[in-house]
Symmetry: C2
């Protein structure tokens, strides 16, 4: 910080980077009034200096040499919005090594290497903030770290991936197939050409690793988040859910019972009365349940140029305020609780099952007897002939609370039964306790 | 702060005070891990030392002498949860004068005298936090001050009074009358014996004064918030709203167009698709629209022992962290924008009108001609005979955007018209732009 001016080094000039340039340029007066210093962009790192840009900036600001940011003593803060693991990780480590504060929107990096990066930041008395990495424009990390600092959180449920929420919303509202909506989402820019990371739930799993680390004060690793995507979801599943009063959503669930923790992402039948059930389109929302506060929900845009840039620049304001007070890197709380993960017989939920069985008398009785042996009992059952007839019936069941282990067992057992033709689908059920 | 121990002086041992005692006592380990110091209750001020309490505390902690808190050098922080203007205001001023930090849940006081108290806190390098004063368990003040520090907020809409939301929800869902639901709310403890402050909108107006001050960076006075309550709301209004796709809610609206501001509280016809329309019962929610972030919403419990105490103790955690860093009273941003309030011809909205008119030909034509002269045009009209017949018709109209001044004029004009028997109701309409 020289002459009451803060210079930032911006790494990446894609969607979010462009938003940061717009906000820092356009909100000069507000930033000055709130921090007492001028904030300006000192240099911008890009891969290709000759690429056409969405916004025009002075050409001498642009470089393809990271060290013109990392080793420039005039640059106080690095804003990393390039994404991906490498070279972003090496650049951030070097920035911290050089005593520069870092703001990042990089969920992949924070989910995989957050602990290492935060440790380095603490060693160097540097700030490392990453509000934009989860649920774009929603200030949910601040809410967990500060707003609920006095409470003990027991459950976090999130719609934290806009692409999949858009696809499921369209499938629910318009009756379209997964494949058709995915194509449409790709043409609108809501889904990438290779949509795997979104539709298979990995993107949501990264965000749940970050949210559960902050919410439960444990260091949650990405590979400890069990993960299933939406590519197998069918129109039939959605319709049967609706008939029973449920909306199918890709939900990240982090749950704590005493000191035992589970974190997962999966398509989930959500009771319509749950606040998350009406979060539609590309919107994100995070539902937080605290022992003292009870039910809360935070709703907003999960992505996009300006919403994500808002989170980045708000983090930047905090960095600058901390610089003025000389307290960077000193407000962070490292995970302090021992991590105990639930085994499959400790993860309890209700389940939605859809089976095709032979349509003859006694089948339902045999089935429920089998399930009772595994201590799985039923809350609701619908049975009717399949559309194509042929002596088959479709069974839709919602179980009472069952352990994940029991459900796995019973599914194995059912597959062996001669009168069960096919197990069509299995979903976790939430919001109907 | 002595020997790594922080002592707080608690003023008030009602609902919220009891919650604070429970949280501080029950969450010792978490508070210590997050702040690095022990936090304990040093003394509790009560009005009547002999009153029966919900929770037992050591009797030597309890006093009816405020100076045993205010002038005790061992007490670092005052937590004020007694409510009301005096003596709370004098106590807080004296606490700040003595260099003690203050956390308060007192919306009445902050709405009326917040500027004076915050000025004193800044002079004395003391923290004065009041998250609990608006929407109990929802960390909305932090979101406005920190989460959206980089953005320019243009609209805040809030369901910030649980009592009135409970009453309107019950009236909507069960068809009960205002009077019956109010009685029920009183018997359940959701409404006070004298419900005026809640049902006439004053409580919500106080919260909107606080929210708009923080959101727009201007010093908003309580008497600049125009305010109308729900005591005149009828079952007919709710039903006609539902027929047109609207839910009637008591909504606080703070809106900025360029640098012109309006803040009001009134029963409002809210389009069902708006995120606030499905916030029911005693829950609160605050909808925030920012130029960059777009639509966000924060949902949770607006009151109650533990939710409100969560906000108080989370503020306390921030105070303690600031004490450790030696930066109390230095993070606050005073209002820095010039306040320009809209006049009535600058406040634009759609309106819902319900009239009883004579049921004869040409009435609607004359009415709409009259309205067109005032530049009020109609988006929707329903006309039908009144239930009791007698040559009268009921007209339900939703206007296009009109100024508040035009609407006032036209209502005066309509009253003069011989064929208009009665103006039954007028509501602002939101969420259908």
């Amino acid at each position: 910080m020289k002459d009451h001016k803060i210079k930032l080094g911006l790494m990446g000039m894609g969607t979010v980077g462009t938003g940061v340039i717009r906000l820092v340029g356009g909100h000069q007066e507000d930033l000055f009034k709130q921090t007492g210093v001028e904030v300006e962009i000192g240099r911008i790192l890009v891969q290709d200096r000759n690429k056409e840009r969405l916004i025009s900036v002075a050409s001498d600001l642009i470089t393809d040499d990271p060290y013109r940011l990392l080793h420039d003593p005039d640059i106080d803060v690095i804003v990393e919005v390039m994404g991906g693991i490498e070279p972003a990780k090496s650049y951030i480590l070097e920035a911290l090594e050089q005593g520069k504060h870092v703001v990042t929107a990089n969920k992949d990096l924070m989910a995989l290497h957050g602990a290492e990066l935060l440790k380095k930041a603490a060693e160097k008395n540097c700030d490392l903030f990453y509000e934009a990495s989860v649920a774009g424009g929603i200030p949910i990390l601040r809410a967990l770290v500060e707003g609920f600092s006095s409470d003990r959180i027991t459950k976090i449920m999130g719609i934290v991936n806009g692409t999949t929420n858009y696809i499921l919303t369209k499938m629910s509202q318009e009756g379209a197939s997964y494949e058709d909506v995915l194509k449409e989402a790709q043409s609108l820019g809501y889904a990438e050409a290779d949509p795997t990371s979104d539709v298979e739930g990995l993107d949501a799993a990264r965000k749940m690793a970050i949210l559960s680390t902050l919410g439960f004060h444990v260091g949650m690793n990405l590979d400890e988040v069990s993960c299933k995507g939406i590519s197998q979801v069918t129109q039939e599943d959605i319709l049967y859910g609706q008939r029973l009063g449920y909306t199918l959503k890709l939900i990240g669930i982090a749950k704590r019972d005493d000191d035992l923790i589970e974190v997962s992402v999966q398509p989930t039948m959500l009771k319509n009365s749950h606040p998350l059930a009406s979060v539609n389109g590309v919107f994100n929302a995070v539902y937080v349940y605290g022992e003292a506060v009870g039910e809360t929900m935070f709703y907003g845009p999960g992505a996009g140029e300006l919403p994500t840039a808002t989170a980045v620049v708000s983090d930047l304001v905090t960095v600058v305020k901390n610089m003025k007070l000389g307290v960077n890197g000193r407000g962070m709380v490292a995970p302090y609780k021992e991590k105990k993960l639930k085994s499959d017989d400790e993860v309890w939920a209700k389940y939605f099952l859809r089976l095709i069985v032979e349509d003859k008398s006694g089948v339902l009785a045999q089935l429920t007897t089998k399930m009772a042996e595994e201590k799985v009992s039923l809350e609701q059952v619908i049975q009717h002939p399949t559309k194509d007839g042929k002596d088959k019936a479709e069974l839709i069941m919602i179980t009472h609370l069952s352990s994940k282990k029991s459900i796995s067992h019973i599914l194995n057992e059912l597959e062996q039964l001669e009168f069960v033709s096919e197990i069509k689908s299995v979903y976790r059920v939430e919001g109907s306790e």
